[in-house]
């Protein structure tokens, strides 16, 4: 039992020691807690055992104190647990030492106790227990029992003696009775004391374990008569023993089931081992028990070393812990942590308890860790190599901005020899002070404030001095305390990217600016302000500090006119240069942009520009439909500005917009002028219809001249033979006529009017001071320039209209043209007025004659005839039923018939039937109340020509007051009618110009807005998303813009042409042309423009002798028809172009196999802005056929179309080719 206690205590201590050792080895808390609990359990058992001895054994032993100490220890263990390991370890260590000492003492004491039990057996009657003497019978009849009987059995002494109340034999537990009897008899036979343990049943019915020792008393010889002995109560001891056995079994199972290997060796020979240990080594318990521990060591040397080290540690500290390698039964080697301590500190022979922990895995993990550290080092080297080979600049600086290291790129950038050469140096050692200072500032953010600098652009120079842009990031480096100790910098050379970005940004900005400018320019209608604005914008756009100039080509004298200038060019506005002269002239002539770095040093400079103080110049042509219409130039100081290709690009783009705007403004301006002219003509026409007084008409014309041609003073002269009389004047004194007439002006000697008269054309005097034939008249000394035009009637000059200005060079050819139109108007007015005067005169004369002398006339027909024959007027007489009774000579001459043919004929046959009803009704209305009527009607001449007549018919009454005859006086008014028609047409044209304007507005809403939408969205896309687009996408946007600008230009061009036609300004100027050559030229041009060589098959089926046609109009017409045929045909299908001629006509026939024109659309064929519903996405303006139709109309030709959808279209144009227009100007 004592051994068991010792074992338990040893295990407990071993567990605690292992726990301590393992804690140091970082064994898991689960194991630790488990071991603490087992230790606590063991101590509990020990306490109970010890407390038993404290009660039952010699009280001289300090067992009670031990038990109390253990109880306290257990409480402490539970209380402190893992949280107080150190104190736990100390406590258990102390307790162990104390216990070991005390257990040793107890051993000896117990042996002494056993001795004394036997010695005092018969002497101590009042000992606890019962002394007796009984007979050797079945009842063990008691002859004597001691006082202890009552305490032992519960029966008084008397009850047992002589079996008085109960026999001792019946107190013995029935199951033990035989055993007791046998044991006693065996003792008696051997004549030796016997001892036995058995159970009794007490008076209260409880079982008690008793221990008995007796000896036979032999009275006579052999047989024992009585037995003497002692019975003691050992119930508690037995129960404690049973509990002990139970606990030991439990402990063994705990020992076996412990998750660590445990075992006991004695002299290094295995005793007890647990299953964990067996499993760990692959041996069974039987394999190990009794074997030397050498069995499990890897080598003999290791076995010896472990023994040596372990026992040395145990001697010094009580426990030994060592790492070693063991060999499993299967030969595998495992690494373990071995801890040992002696079971008995004072007796090594008692054995050593050990624990084994498999640390193979832990060591393997440690090895793996070492391995990964090596890999990490390798990786670090790899990274270093990688960084060294990066094109980016990588460097590390310390807190003072000194280089610690740098990669190869950085070393190269700084121009150092190696990375080591950088160490300790600063930027100031490598860069000029200004750049180094810039770096110091950017370093200070990470170094002083610990903030990183991310993607900062730094500007510096490489060792060769080329500028660089570096995108730099600088990250602060921290030590383990978080303090900044330096920085790591990474830089990337973005110089090229930056340059590309800058260029792109510049272009995008330029395009945006251009777009804004185009919108701006589009708002200005007035040509002069527009030119100024264009120039200002160009100068701003190109940053040209010395202004610029716009030259526009003047076809009339083949010169370039400086229409506007800024800066040094300004004083020269109005100057002219020749194409090819100077920079602008050269640019105009070559149609190529050009710039010079130093104009004064340029050999092509013009003489007139010698004194210009600027020197850098850029000029681009203003191109309109492939022809230059002028130039736009900008100037700058050569010291500050140098133009390059980018500037050319920008100014060309701008010039394209400016040209469109200028052309637009010209259109507006032309249209405005045209309207004024038409209004003026309409006004004059209305005056004509109001009055026939030539004086009034002339005054009105003078009054209105200012609306057409600006001037300071105006005069109208009337020719009377070779003399000239001042008839009307404005802005001269009232008596001007008298002053002038006094000078007796004649056309016989050289003078302005003489020149006008002889040339029959308007004349402009640019400066009177240089005009050789200038004659100063009173009040005319201020006149510096003059324009004069002849007033012609029937091919004869009847007068002159003259405008004067105080400004030299004021009048131009344009003014002369307008004045001529006015003069023609004046001529008509004068002619009409004169005619009217004469009619009035003759009519009244005739009236007098007729009224006063009718009878006389009747009587003397011959005389009458003589009178009327002299008249210029047509005179006739006819019956109320239209039979002619008389015609005068004029009448016969006029109608080209003889009097015999006429008299008796019905004159109605000469009047077109459409006028019969009106004329008859008028004639029938004649009567006494209505003696005369006036009427106008056409008259068909014998050659078929229609002429107009105006008649005053007067009735001749017979005695009854009935109309017997009708006397008519008439005249030819064909000329007047024609003039009236011209006026009416002018009015109609004006209206159609207005209508065109309206249609233009609505058309612009669609056809100009669509391309603008493309342009606007393209520029917006470039502006907003340009940085996310590829170069190709950029180019595509630019080409979209270009294409749509071209489309708008084409449209505006067509509008200009149609505008001219509708405004009646498209002049018809026929000339003798070679039709075949013209056609071939057009076909060639179209083939080039549309890349459709060979598609048009030209068949001139007849030799068209030179025809008299307007080359420009025919070109318009054929170009439109042919390009339509090509455009609306599938590629490659032939377009047939037949040219035929007869004596009087040229016939063009153009046939395609294209999409055709829908039947429903054919009636709108020639309307402007009309496009057919099947054209889809084929671009066009809807103006082409309108131009064609008008060209044909101006020739007096016809156009026919035959078209079927999906089959094709054939246009046939027939133009008169004859000379009937020859030279005649309408």
């Amino acid at each position: 039992m004592v051994e068991s206690v010792t074992l338990l205590l040893s295990i407990t201590l071993q567990l605690l020691a292992a726990a301590y050792a393992w804690r140091l080895q970082r064994v898991t808390n689960r194991h630790l807690a488990w071991m603490l609990l087992v230790a606590a359990l063991c101590l509990q058992i020990v306490r109970r055992v010890v407390s038993f001895f404290a009660v039952s054994a010699d009280s001289a032993l300090p067992l009670a104190e031990i038990a109390d100490g253990l109880t306290l220890l257990i409480s402490l263990l539970f209380l402190l647990g893992m949280a107080s390991m150190a104190s736990l370890m100390l406590s258990s260590e102390d307790a162990r030492k104390k216990l070991q000492a005390e257990i040793g003492e107890r051993h000896q004491t117990e042996r002494a106790l056993q001795e004394s039990q036997r010695t005092y057996r018969t002497l101590l009657g009042n000992l606890p227990g019962m002394a007796y003497r009984c007979r050797n019978d079945a009842d063990w009849t008691m002859e004597f029992v001691s006082e202890g009987c009552k305490a032992l059995t519960g029966y008084p002494v008397g009850d047992l003696l002589e079996n008085k109340r109960i026999s001792y034999g019946s107190i013995i537990h029935p199951a033990d009775r035989t055993q007791v009897a046998e044991a006693v008899q065996a003792g008696l036979r051997a004549k030796k004391p016997f001892q036995m343990t058995y159970r009794i049943v007490t008076a209260t019915g409880h079982e008690k374990w008793v221990w008995e020792q007796g000896i036979g008393i032999y009275a006579s010889g052999k047989d024992a008569v009585t037995i003497e002995g002692f019975v003691a109560d050992i119930t508690e001891r037995i129960e404690a023993e049973q509990a002990m056995q139970h606990s030991e079994a439990m402990l063994r199972s705990v020992f076996r089931a412990a998750p660590i290997g445990l075992g006991i060796v004695t002299d290094r020979v295995f005793g007890l081992t647990n299953s964990q240990f067996q499993e760990m080594l692959g041996y069974s318990e039987e394999d190990l028990a009794g074997q030397s521990a050498r069995l499990i060591y890897e080598t003999e040397e290791e076995y010896e070393r472990v023994g040596e080290v372990k026992y040395e540690q145990i001697d010094r500290e009580g426990t030994g812990t060592i790492e070693t390698r063991l060999r499993r039964k299967d030969g595998q080697i495992i690494e373990v942590l071995l801890s040992s301590s002696e079971l008995d500190r004072n007796n090594r022979a008692a054995g050593v308890i050990f624990s084994v922990l498999d640390i193979t895995e832990r060591n393997r993990a440690a090895a793996a860790l070492r391995h990964s550290e090596e890999a990490l080092n390798k990786e670090r080297n790899l990274l270093r190599t990688l960084i060294d080979n990066l094109p980016d600049f990588v460097y590390v600086k310390d807190i003072d901005g000194r280089f610690v290291t740098g990669n190869t790129a950085q070393v190269k950038l700084l121009g150092a020899s190696s990375a080591d050469a950088l160490v300790g140096k600063t930027d100031a050692d490598f860069y000029p002070p200004a750049i180094a200072a810039q770096f110091a500032i950017s370093d200070s953010l990470p170094l002083k404030q610990g903030e990183p600098v991310i993607n900062r652009e730094e500007y510096l120079f490489d060792p060769q001095g080329s500028p660089l842009v570096i995108l730099t990031s600088k990250i602060p480096l921290h030590d383990s305390q978080g303090a900044v100790i330096g920085l790591v910098g990474i830089g990337r050379n973005i110089t090229e990217r930056k340059a590309a970005e800058d260029a792109l940004a510049k272009r995008t900005h330029a395009l945006q600016t251009l777009h804004d400018l185009s919108v701006d320019l589009g708002m200005i209608d007035d040509l002069a302000s527009l030119q100024t604005r264009v120039l200002e914008r160009a100068v701003d756009l190109l940053n040209a500090d010395m202004g610029g100039c716009i030259y526009l080509y003047q076809p009339e004298d083949d010169s370039l006119l400086l229409v506007d200038g800024l800066g040094p060019d300004k004083p020269y506005i109005g100057d002219r240069i020749k194409p090819g002269e100077g920079l602008s002239g050269r640019v105009f002539a070559t149609q190529q942009p050009m710039f010079v770095v130093d104009y004064m040093a340029w050999d092509g400079r013009a003489d007139v520009e010698d004194e210009f103080p600027f020197s850098a110049m850029l000029s681009v042509p203003l191109m309109w439909r492939g022809e230059a219409i002028g130039t736009l130039g900008v100037n700058a100081d050569k010291e500050r500005r140098r133009f390059d290709q980018d500037d050319v690009w920008l100014l060309e783009l701008f010039a394209a917009q400016a040209t469109t705007a200028i052309k637009n403004a010209q259109l507006f301006s032309d249209e405005h002028d045209q309207r004024d002219l038409a209004e003026m003509l309409a006004h004059t026409a209305s005056l004509l219809s109001q009055t026939l007084d030539p004086t009034v008409v002339m005054r009105h014309i003078l009054d209105n001249t200012g609306r057409l041609v600006e001037h300071d003073a105006a005069t109208i002269f009337v020719r009377e033979g070779s003399h000239v009389r001042l008839a009307f004047w404005r802005n001269y004194p009232d008596d001007m006529g008298r002053h002038v007439d006094a000078h007796q002006m004649t056309l016989d000697e050289p003078s302005l009017l003489h020149e006008v008269y002889t040339a029959s054309q308007p004349v402009v005097i640019e400066d009177t001071q240089t005009y050789p034939h200038w004659r100063d008249l009173p009040h005319t000394d201020w006149i510096r320039s003059v324009v004069a035009a002849p007033i012609r009637s029937h091919g004869e000059t009847i007068g002159f209209i003259v405008l004067d200005s105080a400004t030299p060079g004021f009048f131009t050819a344009l003014h002369a043209n307008r004045l001529t139109m006015l003069a023609d108007q004046a001529a008509i007015a004068i002619e009409n007025a004169q005619l009217y005067e004469r009619i009035q005169q003759y009519a009244s004369e005739l009236e007098q004659h007729v009224a006063a002398r009718t009878r006389e006339l009747r009587a003397s027909e011959a005389r009458y005839r003589a009178i009327v024959d002299d008249q210029m007027e047509l005179v006739c007489r006819h019956t109320p039923d239209h039979k002619l009774t008389f015609v005068n000579e004029s009448y016969c001459r006029w109608v080209g018939r003889s009097r015999e043919d006429l008299v008796g004929a019905d004159f109605m046959q000469f009047v077109p039937p459409a006028y019969h009803a009106t004329l008859k009704a008028l004639l029938a209305s004649l009567g006494p109340d209505n003696p005369s009527i006036e009427n106008e009607h056409p008259y068909t001449m014998p050659d078929g020509e229609t002429r107009w007549q105006a008649w005053t018919d007067r009735a001749i009454f017979d005695e009854q007051g009935c109309v017997s005859e009708i006397q008519g006086v008439g005249r030819d008014i064909t000329t007047r009618k024609r003039l009236e028609n011209q006026l009416r047409r002018a009015l109609e044209r004006e209206m159609s110009v207005n209508e065109l304007g309206t249609r233009f507005v609505s058309m612009a809403a669609h056809d100009l807005r669509n391309p603008l939408a493309v342009i606007r969205s393209a520029t917006d896309l470039l502006a907003h998303y340009g940085d996310r687009m590829s170069k190709d996408e950029h180019l595509r946007k630019l080409s979209n813009i270009q294409r749509n600008v071209d489309l708008m230009v084409e449209l505006l061009d067509d509008i200009l042409t149609v505008g001219k036609v509708e405004a009646g300004r498209l002049e018809f100027r026929p000339e003798t042309i070679d039709v075949v050559e013209l056609c071939q030229g057009i076909i060639h041009e179209l083939a080039v423009a549309t890349a459709s060589y060979g598609q048009v098959q030209f068949n001139p089926v007849a030799d068209c002798s030179p025809a008299f046609l307007d080359k420009k109009l025919v070109r318009h017409m054929l170009t439109n028809l042919l390009s339509n045929a090509i455009k609306y045909s599938p590629q490659g299908t032939p377009v047939t172009f037949d040219l035929a001629c007869d004596a009087e006509h040229v016939i063009f026939r153009i046939e395609d196999r294209g999409i055709g024109i829908p039947q429903a659309d054919q009636r709108y064929l020639y309307e402007a802005f009309r496009r057919f519903r099947n054209v889809g996405n084929i671009p066009g303006t809807g103006l082409g056929l309108a131009i064609v139709k008008q060209s044909v109309d101006l020739h007096g030709g016809t156009i026919e179309v035959d078209s079927q959808e999906h089959k094709g279209t054939t246009f046939t144009v027939i133009l008169p080719s004859g000379n009937r227009y020859g030279g005649k100007h309408e």
Partner: protein
Amino acid sequence: MSRILVVEDDQTLREQLLELMAFEGYQGVGAEDGAQALERVHEAPPDLVLCDVGLPTLDGFSVIRQLRANPSTAETPIIVLTARQDLDTARRMRDLAVRAYITKPFALDVLLDAIHNALTDAPSSTA
């Protein structure tokens, strides 16, 4: 991702609008005339329709009327892009309950605002 149908007969403008849709994270679908627009709608109803007025085969008015008559697109927001500026067109568009009426040429910002507004406060029948 919102699906936007772009009905525009000018190929260049249509492509640029689709490009814009892509940049702004919309799924753009193009149609070059009215008939094709209705086919695209039939394939998958869009979340929004950008529609030109002057279109070949079937004009913008007819397209919008047909969209309104179809229950699946009756509520779909429609933005009209047109070169027409007359009152009559504007009035007819209002009667057809179009979401916005934008005249050409237009700033892309204006168009994007209109699209954004139409998509954010549209009754989300298809979302």
